[in-house]
Amino acid sequence: MISIRWSALFAALFVTSAFAQTAPTVDKNLGRNLAANCANCHGTNGKSVAEVPSLAGVPAALTIQKMKDYRDGKLPATIMHQLSKGYTDAQIVAIAEYLAKQPK
């Protein structure tokens, strides 16, 4: 039989986890974490060491516009038209704002 103390604990745990799922806290590192998706091709923190352009220090508005143009098919691309469709407007803003702050 489960004691009252244990049921209270289970109830507390359940409430905590239910709350965590319905009201997720905003990820304070969202821009940093998502920009890390770009680093494989564009370099750590957007600083490229090869032909693919750096994104570090690029004004956020420019990166946001390019991502939207890739997504809408207005900018020709080999791959970015496919990858840009993987991110929401809010995610793109977070990525662009993080990369804009990185040293060139």
Partner: protein
């Protein structure tokens, strides 16, 4: 030696008795014992997953976490691009990068072979008898081969004669040497196991690279692809176009080619159906599973081959406090076993571990992307790409609808981008 080797049941039982199941997220912050006050992360395996995780934990924690990287090799040798070494347009040195670039992050490097770990004492055992304490352990063990399914390849001699060359390094060079020594008019045969295996398009890229070499140097020779799968596993249309185009008559593809064994002496494959197939250079990719340290320590809780993890933290669902990255994972649907993916696993895991060990909040919305380039010849390249998000309801990664896709056709622009990708991802891991 302080090797520890429990069964999975024992481990789960032990963890339950200690009340760790389900609350491991809160265990990290107060788990540091003695010595340095900083929490300790030990990473095993300096490949795409492990080296990336080590660097990003050191970088993102800004020195608040002690990071140790255990690696048995002297340098990182990249599987991506290594098929060009087989084809002869690159040298092994071109795909080799040292580990020295990680020193500036304060990462302690230990050269050695990890053999096991004690999840209760939180120590990692090394083959030389020493052990390393950890608060969080990350294993990025890659794959090992299920040679038990191919008795004919039991001996070292047989393995050297019928190479896998599916871990870049000396075997890559040995396979290249077998091809250069082969007579013109000979047959190179590659056998592909049933998926899942490391790098889905890799065997087809290798076939293209060998065909490219034969075109230059041995035009009477032939490439035979024997695929245990029902169909080409990756980039089918793009590869088929090359096989029916620039490599017409040079590459032959056969599907549903399951084997029962390999005869290393006669260089022949014992087929499940039909006659033996003989080659002049025989390249067999045996069925694969999670790397030895994962399977020997009960982390292979998916079909006894692969490791299941919590996709928010990459913590093993079998043993608390142990995180697993890369090809060893039971992948979520449509997530390939690729170096690019392993690098992305490493960053999500790094972000989560920094939060777990510094009292923060783990992100509930991780994303990973995959970009995979394959070389058709020495310059033309094709890609496949995808973006994946965490789905809280399903507790797994799902492909973002509408994202991703393939190259329209092979092209030289992506040849430049593929080389650029390699230099950037190697730098992202190692410098």
């Amino acid at each position: 030696m302080n090797t520890f080797n429990q069964t999975r049941r024992d481990l789960v039982k032990g963890a339950g008795a200690l009340g760790l199941v389900g609350v491991s997220a809160f265990a990290g912050g107060c788990a540091t014992v003695g010595g340095s006050a900083k929490p300790k992360v030990v990473v095993v395996g300096g490949g795409f997953g492990g080296a990336t995780a080590a660097k990003y934990i050191a970088m993102w924690s800004e020195g608040k976490i002690d990071v140790t990287l255990v690696e048995r090799g002297d340098a990182f040798v990249s599987c991506p691009i290594s098929n060009l070494v087989v084809g002869g347009s690159r040298q092994i040195a071109d795909v080799t990068v040292g580990y020295g670039g990680l020193d500036k992050y304060g990462i302690r490097r230990v050269k050695g072979e990890a053999t096991g770990f004690d999840p209760a004492k939180k120590t990692l055992a090394l083959a030389d008898g020493t052990s390393l304490p950890y608060d969080r352990l990350i294993l990025s063990p890659g794959i090992d081969f299920m040679y038990e399914t191919l008795p004919g390849l039991a001996t070292g001699e047989a393995k050297n004669r019928v190479l896998a060359a599916w871990k870049a390094g000396p075997e890559t060079v040995a396979l290249r040497n077998q091809l250069t020594a082969m007579r013109d008019g000979g047959v190179y045969a590659i056998h592909i196991p049933k998926a899942p295996y490391r790098c889905p398009p890799g065997p087809y890229e290798r076939a293209c690279q060998v065909a490219w070499y034969f075109q230059q140097a041995k035009p009477k020779s032939k490439v035979l692809i024997l695929d245990a799968n029902e169909d080409v596993v990756s980039k089918k249309g793009l590869f088929m176009k090359a096989w029916n185009g620039q490599y017409k008559g040079l590459i032959e593809y056969r599907n549903n080619q399951e084997i029962t064994d390999v005869d290393a002496r006669t260089l022949s494959l014992k087929m499940s159906f039909g006659d033996d197939v003989k080659a002049d250079v025989l390249n067999v990719l045996p069925p694969m599973r999670a790397g030895n340290i994962a399977t020997a320590n009960g982390l292979n809780n998916s079909n006894k081959r692969w490791c299941q993890v919590d996709w928010l933290t990459y913590e093993s669902t079998a043993v608390p406090g142990v995180h697993i990255l890369g090809d060893a994972l039971q992948i979520a649907p449509a997530m390939p076993k690729s170096g690019h993916m392993a690098n992305q696993h490493g960053k999500v895991c790094a972000a989560a571990i920094v939060e777990l060990l510094t009292g923060g909040t783990v992100s509930q919305t991780p994303m990973v992307a995959n970009t995979c380039y394959s070389f058709i010849d020495d310059k033309d390249v094709v890609h496949v790409a995808s973006v994946h998000r965490y789905d809280a309801a399903q507790k797994t990664m799902v492909t973002v609808q509408g994202s991703g896709g393939l190259s329209a056709e092979q092209n030289k622009t992506e040849g430049i981008y593929a080389n650029s990708w390699a230099r950037n991802i190697w730098a992202d891991m190692l410098t």
